[in-house]
Amino acid sequence: MARISIDPVTRIEGHLRIDVEVDGGSVQKAWASCTMWRGIETILRGRDPREGWLFAQRFCGVCTTVHAMASVRAVEDALQLEIPANAQYIRNLILIGHALHDHIVHFYHLSALDWVDITTIPKADPAGAASIADGISTWPGNSRRELEAVQNKVKGLIGSGQLGIFSHGYWGHPAMRLSPEMNLILFAHYLQALEFQRKSNQVVGILGGKTPHIQNLAVGGVMNAINLNSLATFNMDRLGTLQSLLQDLIPFVQQAYFVDACLLAASYPEWFRYGRGVANYLAVPDLPVDAKATRFDLPGGLIMNGNLGSVRPIQDWHDQPIRAAVAEDVTHAWYQGKGAQQPWKGETNPDYTDFRDDGKYSWVKAPRYDGRPMQVGPLANVLIGYASGHPLTRKWMDAALKKISSVNGSRLAPEDLQSTMGRYLARAIRSAMLSDLALEHWKLLADNILKGDDATYNPPQFPAHECEGVGMHEAPRGTLTHWVVIDKGAFSNYQAVVPTTWNASPRDQQGVPGPYESSLLANPVVDPEKPLEVLRTVHSFDPCMACACHTLDASGRQIAQVKVL
């Protein structure tokens, strides 16, 4: 029996520590711990609800807009304030731009190198690679010349003996099984992705005024002035720029990223057998298509025990069950108290002990839905959409399964996505869907403006009595909810239940582990000194701990410290 401790696991915000006990080459027990505290909620108490979103978007440096959005929606829910249709569409386009950005960076820059061994690229045959890529995608960035140029860059890097940021990879690990040609194709797209990361960022910038901290939000709508005859406001020129950015971005998502995710899935089919974990899924509806937010382009719902037939739709943000069902348990988290509390009544009072396997061991609380752990994220999103018969989800899920089958002859069903590889694939499916929706919501906005509607804002009015609200957003990493209590025009409580809290949840009062923890059980580990397989499963959730907990302290010399105890 070997105990492995990896700290930190994420390469972006925050400190995530994973401990696993390995016996006979597979994981027997696992703990997910967030090692730093953040009392983000305490800073919002007593503040003006109209400016809460400015603070909320500093919770995390990577997911800025999602917290801004959840914050204004929470206040609007408490005030029962509708926002104009234009405001919905502008917010939706920002959310789509942000999500595409986030998913592209996750796939290529944060996790591809768990699967792609760049040190084999010098051995690749660029002509062979070009012909593989040509057979499966219409993406124009797969030419032999392009791939040769990338190969030469990698040869230069390796020849210089300074792999720099790439020196941390588990190169030559037996679990790395792509051909040199496949590694070359994927790494070429890794580099091309930098260009599209920029374009998706520009989408957010055009609408939000600035990135990464958007400036245009308001409780009651958005502050974009719409006037087709004024150069200084949102006009046809901006709409045109937005459209051409989207038209540049979408082919990369649908022809490069989506296809690459399918190729990866076809090349590592065994990873559909690992990493299932918690098979209860939660997603909230998002991308409202009308001012009153009664209809949505991304469906929400719940699936319990991995049974797609059991799906219960969440129709809209007024859904009563979710308001009653969500509670956060602190039995194994470094907070005072025991058991679970509904977020409106939630407290954030620290009670630090050491890391105790059977006691408290994380700064992340354990959110539960009717007492049960839930997995959130793109996988929950597409399983719920598929199970509810959502046509767009079906279109891209079916396309993905067909593409994989065309490469390796396998016969996968949507249920098989409940796995480590399924989470990667689901993120790509969601990105392809969001690309289609980007143009649809651009059209909704343009048509509405051309119709003569220039309303973007309804002023909020604060009642004298206390009121509660919840803001829901289906963020890139999954269901995000901000829970607010407003009294006399100020926040009297503020709790954020974030996607990584659901997924990185520690055990609860009953000892039931969270999604990261249970997904690692039976995960293979060939070499305890190089636990690449553990990283694959944890990275499949796209962990981002900053808003789930607090991040502090420096070192950064090592990406991760692996200790075999």
């Binding site: 915000e13 400015l54 500093r58 901290h213 302290d553």
Partner: protein, 192 residues
């Protein structure tokens, strides 16, 4: 599209002044404070972007892409007393002479630079204006030690730009900095 300068004797064309750090974390908000104050005291040519980027991690890359000159204001980890100000070069970063305050920035800046170098769009010159923090505790605001040196940092940003031929002048009428995250109005303390 290669936007690199052809002639090194000409002033840099694409310039970015970036504040890094988390305003909710005490002195880690130095970068945001510095660039917001700079924006209000100095007026630059339109080719100079002045940005408070928070803690963007790998999402920093789009802002560095194709720039000739990037100046980053950030809290740095160092042995010196709080409030000590120093400039660092990209080489210092690579040789670990300097560590940015949060792990969240550190891989972000280094990895973003390394990625952009491979595709040929890394900034030609990168300078870090580093401030040693007193406390990066959550919700602590900016310490007196860092606040008292902030105006020096702001002038340093301007001097670094001017040395390189970038058009950057004191405003005749200063704007009021929007330091919305600080408790109370500290702006007059910061203003030089």
């Amino acid at each position: 599209m290669n936007m690199k300068r052809c002639n090194p004797l000409l002033p840099p064309r694409h310039v970015c002044v970036i504040g890094l750090g988390n305003v909710l974390m005490g002195d880690d908000g130095f970068g945001s404070l510095a660039v917001e104050t700079f924006r209000c005291e100095y007026e630059c040519a339109p080719n100079v972007e002045v940005l408070d980027l928070g803690t963007p991690g790998l999402d920093l890359a789009p802002y560095l892409y194709g720039k000739d000159l990037v100046i980053v204001a950030d809290a740095v980890e160092a042995e010196n007393t709080p409030g000590t100000l120093r400039t660092y070069r990209e080489a210092d970063l690579l040789s670990h002479q300097v560590q940015l305050r949060l792990t969240a920035h550190d891989p972000g800046l280094q990895e973003s630079l390394a990625q952009l170098r491979i595709v040929g769009h890394a900034p030609s010159e990168l300078i870090i204006v580093g401030m040693v923090p007193e406390s990066c505790a959550f919700g602590a605001g900016i310490s007196a030690a860092v606040l008292s040196k902030s105006s020096v940092a702001v002038h340093l940003l301007a001097a670094l730009l001017r040395e390189r031929g970038v058009d950057c002048r004191r405003r005749h009428a200063q704007l009021q900095p929007n330091l919305w995250w600080l408790p109370g109005d500290r702006s007059e303390v910061v203003s030089a």
